[in-house]
Symmetry: C2
Amino acid sequence: MLYAGFMSAAPPSAPTPQEPVESPQLLQLGLDDEPCLRADAARNRARLLEAAAGLVAARGADAVTMEEVAAAAGVGKGTVFRRFGDRTGLLMALLDHSEKKLQAAFLSGPPPLGPGAPPAERLRAFGRAALRRTVEDLELQLAAEADPGRRFTLPPYRVRHHHVALLLRQAVPDADCDVLAHTLLAQLDPALIHHLMHQCGMPPQRLEDAWTDLVDRITGTTA
Amino acid sequence: MLYAGFMSAAPPSAPTPQEPVESPQLLQLGLDDEPCLRADAARNRARLLEAAAGLVAARGADAVTMEEVAAAAGVGKGTVFRRFGDRTGLLMALLDHSEKKLQAAFLSGPPPLGPGAPPAERLRAFGRAALRRTVEDLELQLAAEADPGRRFTLPPYRVRHHHVALLLRQAVPDADCDVLAHTLLAQLDPALIHHLMHQCGMPPQRLEDAWTDLVDRITGTTA
DNA sequence: CTGCAAAGCGGACCCCGGTCCGCATTGTGT
DNA sequence: ACACAATGCGGACCGGGGTCCGCTTTGCAG
């Protein structure tokens, strides 16, 4: 399970010794953020998030430029990138709160989402929850989708994948659950949701039904 | 089924009256390309493709810049964009030939890929073929992935989706085949393939097996 | 062969994401 | 209180994708 570098042919010579960003690669399991920054840094971070949220809300995620955010927060462009790594990082930070809430719910909340219900049941609940959460701020999720290559290595995805794979192993021990989990998660991909809802005009209910049906087929359960 | 604009909040005022590009939005069903260009245009197009192919082969897809391609072909940058629309367009044009071949094979080739075999059988064959074809030039496919939003509206994807949905409707008439087809196709996504093979170290055989297994589970077949 | 509209060309230009590095701010040890 | 690392800041800078518009080429009609 080495989740290292990944840039195709980039020489891994110097592992870029300066890289605070945030939670560089590790699983974000809920409650680790903000590794005690310096006073001014913390203040700027807060300002940036606020400014970004405001601009995004006002003009839509992909009409907002990094420089604008910096300006609105009253800091320099470099500061934004130092803190959040890149555009995707900033956008993800904006989504972080609600993602954490979802994570908490399916990792340790009450059944059927959390532990306690049978796996197939939990899978169905997971899909419903994730779907609704995604629909809430679709636009932002969409804009936060990194270049296709990184998608699967981003912490939020990894957590979801780990969870779904776990449930699958309980429900269908004879399947290749690692791969299957990716397939299931694909049906919750913001880009797909957007396509189905906004371009094909499907109602959210249909997506929930499709998820349920898929889980039923794969686990062999009949609802 | 309106597949219009799609840019979230962009004013659709002027539908950009000049847009030759190629096969703007329609299904590419095999044999429509090159709507008779002017002599010089055709020559430049050929030169560009050749130059691009050369550079990509030599230095890897994402180390090649549009300006380089233009220079190598002895034309101006503007010409590249006029002909191919954007970077993705150029890359896709490079993949066009092999994609057409695959399309021909599953649309009208011999069974089990083409018509004649039972649907579940055809689905299995489709996955195998698509998988192998994708592995062949993974890097290019990866680089050609557009921004996530456009993925599902690109002609090659639409053709595949249409095909898979058709087979599904025959095999499992009671399911939501439109959505299900997207789910199946997700397992053939170049980005996922790359992740599983190059970052998780899975052998191609395992992906083929996973596809077969998935088809079996969904169609209820046991073969 | 010639004239002329349409089609195509090309490179200067813009924009934006991302980097870099000399300077300013912290906060800690004494 | 002071000095001095370490940490962070910021804006000049760069590279590459994509656009624009005046000029050239093409090829058709007469």
